[in-house]
């Protein structure tokens, strides 16, 4: 790996830290990234499916997942995990990510992970080829490509510090606050940075100075490096060794902060947990001296660091090693943005012509387009172009359920309302309002229970027992008069179509074995039309490649009912128009058809 991140890098963000994520997306928009740098968010306790963020002046939705595994499954190419879990859980989150695999980088922000756990985490990641940035860090940045969370601060500061486009310096620091400061100094005194990492302030961090600087040595965009070390530890000596061994050849400018510590014998902790000199060699002064001895550019003091950077940069420029950068075009994020109240993901009326899931209506409407109602349903309900066998099936279903005579509760209601002089829409909705668990609900129920039985590999006998235990008659089984010998032709038609055109009919096959058992008990316990529709819908979705979870969600959200509602509305409207045509008077139910059993109310 020569570069930590590219313009295509996408991250999974663990913890829905909306401010930090918005900062990343503002950065993405500013540098004109094609795709947002955050592909998904892991929010174990959230019930939401997505979070809205601004994308420049617009808004986008970033999906939420309950677990890293789910997020990674949905976005396998997202190879950076931004672990914003607390110090209590950060270890587990990283270990899980390494276990799942496919992550190149894990950034850990928590400060104060138990040292033994931090060591185990860093070691496991290293063994598995995962670069850990942190713990206790603000992150890393590849200017013009990818930025982690809050590093660089506000978008204004990022542009001011030239962190929006690639410069020529490789920057490594321990402190996150000083990382920003150094970026600013490098922007003022040179041409900005090409890659930067704040390695983190804890005693045990995953990637140390040397890991990052050896990578920067190989990164052709890095022409020189700036290292801001600290009193304590011996990490800076590894850089010295690497220079001696010829592993680092690019110019290095370095300074260790914490020279103050020499004035105080003991007891005062200056700086981070990792910063405490246990030996003379670990003091800032000793390290600064040792670094200067191998040819690292070491300023006289921190205050003098900007001059040193300018000196080295101008030298490299004079030699032609760094060249003038053409400043790229940027987008500007609006300062005032209003979050949208409504979201629409199915149709759009903003252009020349309104579209259904991206298709202009004219491309679907007329017969010459070859598209039917099934296509419109697939676009507006499922945001997908279903194949012909599926759209034909949808149309078959709609046609099949369109009406079932005047006596059923919905039609009866519609007729009574129409006779009360109400409009088509009022009459229609009184009919529709009866649709539910008892009327039309068998489609939903059949899909749900048969799928449950099939998913759990219940034998037909087990399934019957299970339903008996639940205390529910099996939805989709049974007809008033029809039997195997005298079959329902609607059912026969649906089955025939499915057998001929569906790639497979696994749930129907299962349902038919159940039917064999039920009809052996009683003749009319056949798979009825509601059951067949519900079951075949599941088979259709399975054949279209939906996951079982997706299908369960269709069922629980009432999608199957929706097919019944659409179809039966045709019939209800027919009954309403029929009433209007016949100009039938107000309906009053005959009193002799009512059992009156009214008692005088007791006083309580």
């Amino acid at each position: 790996m020569t570069k930590l991140f590219t313009k295509d890098t996408q991250a999974i963000f663990w913890n829905n830290n909306t401010t930090a994520i918005q900062r990343m997306l503002d950065y993405d928009y500013t540098i004109k990234r094609a795709k947002p740098s955050v592909a998904a968010i892991v929010a174990p306790t959230s019930g939401n499916k997505f979070e809205k963020f601004f994308w420049g002046p617009d808004e986008i939705m970033v999906p939420l997942f309950k677990s890293t595994a789910d997020a990674k499954k949905a976005f396998p190419h997202a190879d950076a995990l931004l672990n914003f879990a607390s110090f209590r859980t950060a270890y587990d989150v990283t270990m899980e990510a390494v276990e799942i695999g496919g992550f190149k980088t894990v950034m850990v922000t928590a400060e104060g992970i138990p040292e033994r756990l931090a060591r185990k985490m860093n070691n496991t990641a290293r063994t598995n080829g995962v670069t850990v940035i942190g713990p206790a860090t603000v992150g890393a940045i590849a200017p013009g490509a990818f930025k982690i969370a809050n590093i660089g601060g506000t978008i204004e500061n990022i542009v001011q510090s030239k962190l929006h486009r690639c410069g020529s310096c490789g920057l490594v620091t321990r402190s996150g606050g000083l990382f920003n400061e150094l970026s600013n100094i490098i922007a003022i005194n040179a041409d900005g940075i090409a890659e930067g990492v704040a390695i983190g302030g804890d005693r045990f961090v995953g990637s140390v100075f040397i890991d990052n600087m050896l990578r920067m040595e190989k990164n052709p965009e890095v022409k020189y490096m700036v290292l801001l070390g600290e009193v304590g530890g011996t990490e800076e000596y590894k850089i010295i060794d690497a220079i001696k061994a010829g592993q680092i050849t690019k110019p290095v400018i370095a300074w260790c902060i914490g020279t103050i510590a020499k004035h105080f014998s003991s007891g005062v902790q200056f700086g981070h947990a990792g910063a405490s000199a246990n030996a003379d060699a670990e003091t800032a002064a000793a390290k600064n001296k040792a670094m200067a001895e191998v040819g690292i550019y070491v300023p006289a003091s921190f205050n003098d660091l900007p001059n040193k950077i300018a000196e080295v940069y101008n030298e490299l420029k004079a030699k032609g090693i760094v060249t003038e950068i053409t400043e790229p075009d940027m987008n500007t994020c609006p300062t005032v943005r209003k979050s949208k109240e409504f979201i629409c993901t199915i149709s759009d009326d903003r252009g020349d012509e309104a579209t259904y899931a991206g298709f202009p209506i004219s491309s679907l409407a007329t017969p010459d387009t070859g598209k039917g109602i099934g296509d419109v349903v697939s676009l507006l309900w499922f945001k997908k172009q279903y194949p012909k066998w599926a759209t034909d099936f949808i149309e078959t279903v709609i046609k099949t359920v369109a009406d079932h005579g005047p006596a059923v509760s919905g039609a009866h209601n519609a007729k009574v309302t129409a006779r009360a002089g109400k409009s088509v829409v009022e009459s229609l909705v009184t009919g529709l309002l009866t649709i539910g668990p008892r009327f039309g609900g068998a489609i939903d129920g059949a899909a749900e229970y048969f799928k449950y039985a099939d998913d759990n590999k219940l034998t037909p006998a087990d399934f019957l027992n299970h339903m008996k235990k639940v205390g529910v008659p099996i939805p989709g089984i049974g007809h008033r008069i029809k039997s195997l010998k005298n079959p329902d032709l609607r059912v026969e038609g649906l089955k025939k179509y499915a057998k001929e055109h569906f790639p497979s009919t696994s749930l129907l096959d299962y349902a038919l074995t159940v039917e064999q058992l039920t009809t052996s008990k009683k003749e009319n316990l056949i798979l009825n039309v509601d059951g067949t529709i519900g079951i075949l819908m599941v088979d259709m979705w399975r054949a279209l490649g939906y996951s079982e979870e997706d299908i369960n969600e269709f069922i629980s959200s009432g999608t199957l009912n929706a097919f019944f509602i659409v179809g039966r509305s045709i019939g209800f409207i027919g009954h309403v128009l029929d009433e209007k045509r016949l100009a039938m008077p107000m309906y009053r139910h005959p009193m002799d058809d009512i059992l009156y059993d009214v008692q005088v109310a007791d006083k309580i």
């Binding site: 401010t19 930090a20 110090f87 209590r88 104060g112 138990p114 040292e115 033994r116 756990l117 060591r119 185990k120 860093n122 070691n123 496991t124 063994t127 603000v138 809050n150 590093i151 660089g152 601060g153 506000t154 500061n157 001011q160 510090s161 620091t173 402190s175 996150g176 606050g177 000083l178 920003n180 400061e181 600013n184 100094i185 003022i188 804890d202 005693r203 045990f204 801001l228 600290e230 009193v231 902060i257 914490g258 020279t259 103050i260 004035h263 014998s265 003991s266 007891g267 005062v268 902790q269 200056f270 700086g271 981070h272 947990a273 910063a275 405490s276 003091s301 921190f302 205050n303 900007p306």
Partner: protein
């Protein structure tokens, strides 16, 4: 700071509590008491379970984190001859030692307040061993020597065997490595016992989240009876949330000779523990001239570095630097006001001995996410309270800061200081972070 030293007594108590879980087959009596006066020791001897204080001869020594107590002549083990210290003698000795300040060979200086008292354990030099464990670089290291006692530091390389135990080493491999590295000069009769003790010791050190654990000497008496004569331990306090039940309410004393925290330092530490932000304050010299209020851990270090550099270069000294600390991680306005009140109050207590102006550095790097205007509102509120006092001390204020909302923050603080008649210079990210120190001191 992640690693915190604990008292010898608490270390031994932890051993005792966990003994059965790790050291089955060995026996440890844990006859130790921790007292803060002779009277307390005498009272302890009357309690049930502590009859041994009256029955056995005793050893007493301070339990205040520092080592080399023998060389400092701070171990009481003989009155007339070794092993004849009675309860009364021990109590008297403790009171004597507490009566005046003590200066150690290291130069540390202070009052003795805590003593550990234990039975005198007769034994021979041959029964003394050394064992310790800590983390070096990325690995744990177990140190073992056949020679216990304070002399072990001399000739360390020859006397001590070390076993490097990487974090991912299996228990089987660890046990094998320990066995293979048992010092050859451990006598055959103790060899097996010592090996199992060393393995158990390492597991105990590891599972209890010690950062450092040393017994010097550990004495192997007859019948696998172990005496922990001297113990030094540091815990990794970041593991506190995992170890709450196991560690119990363990105390982290201040190092001997370090002044106890001042009331102000304690108040800031207390505010820090209750806040998601980071508030730190160390008073280096209450009479100092240069006071700092710096945002950010790294920035606080470079400001201290730079003040030291310029103070020395401009005829002053390190004594000019009054405090060290930070406020960062997005403190609220009221947290920042409290921090500013504390610093400014301390600053305006004493006039500079040379009659110079007081300097208040309100510094910070370019913040990642802290709202500068919000925190500066807290500082401004503090200015309003202390303006008169600050003027009495001719306070010159130098501000440098960047980050979210910094323009407003800088404008607000400038306006407030002008309105209150305070001397102020205000700079943003275009000025080098520590350059205000040069401006303030280079005159």
């Amino acid at each position: 700071m992640a690693q915190k030293a604990i008292r010898e007594y608490d270390g031994k108590a932890l051993f005792s509590k966990q003994w059965g879980n790790y050291f089955s087959g060995f026996h440890y009596g844990f006859k130790s008491v921790l007292v803060q006066s002779g009277a307390e020791l005498l009272a302890k001897a009357e309690e049930h379970g502590f009859e041994w204080l009256k029955q056995e001869s005793l050893v007493a020594k301070p339990d205040m984190l520092f080592g080399k107590r023998g060389k400092n002549d701070l171990v009481l083990f003989k009155d007339q001859k070794p092993g004849d210290v009675s309860l009364a003698v021990a109590a008297k000795w403790i009171d004597e030692k507490m009566a005046h300040t003590v200066t150690l060979l290291s130069g540390q200086h202070g009052h003795l307040t805590h003593f550990i008292v234990e039975p005198f354990t007769p034994h021979s030099q041959e029964q003394e061993y050394y064992i310790s464990a800590t983390c070096v670089g990325e690995d744990d290291v177990l140190y073992m020597s056949a020679e216990g006692g304070m002399e072990v530091e001399e000739g360390w390389d020859e006397k001590v065997n070390e076993v490097v135990i990487p974090i991912d080493m299996s228990d089987a491999d660890m046990e094998h490595a320990v066995k293979a590295n048992i010092p050859t000069d451990i006598p055959a009769k103790d060899r097996e016992s010592f090996t199992s003790f060393a393995i158990a010791f390492f597991k105990f050190y590891r599972d209890m989240n010690f950062a450092y654990l040393e017994i010097n000497p550990i004495v192997m008496l007859d019948n696998n009876d172990m005496a922990i004569l001297d113990l030094v331990a540091r815990l990794d306090d970041t593991a506190g949330f995992l170890m709450r039940d196991t560690w119990g309410d363990i105390e982290y004393p201040t190092a001997f000779g370090m002044e106890d925290q001042t009331a102000e330092e304690k108040a800031i530490a207390d505010a820090d523990s209750k806040s998601g932000a980071s508030l730190k304050l160390t008073i280096l010299n209450p009479l100092g001239r240069v006071w700092t209020m710096v945002a950010g851990g790294g920035a606080s270090v470079v400001y201290a570095d730079t003040i030291a550099d310029f103070a020395e270069a401009t005829g002053g000294s390190i004594a000019d630097l009054a405090n060290y600390g930070e406020y960062s991680g997005g403190p609220t306005t009221s947290e920042t006001k409290f921090y500013a009140d504390t610093v400014i109050d301390l600053m305006t207590r004493h006039k500079d001995s040379k009659g110079r102006d007081k300097i208040l550095i309100i510094g910070g790097a370019i913040a990642n996410f802290t709202d500068v205007a919000k925190t500066f509102t807290g500082i401004i509120q503090s200015f309003e309270t202390y303006a008169d006092k600050m003027k009495e001390h001719n306070t010159k204020i130098y501000v440098r800061r960047g980050g979210p909302n910094y323009e407003k923050g800088l404008k607000d603080i400038k306006e407030a200081a002008d309105r209150l008649g305070l001397y102020i210079k205000v700079y943003g990210p275009e000025t080098h972070v520590t350059d205000i120190v040069r401006m303030a001191l280079e005159k």
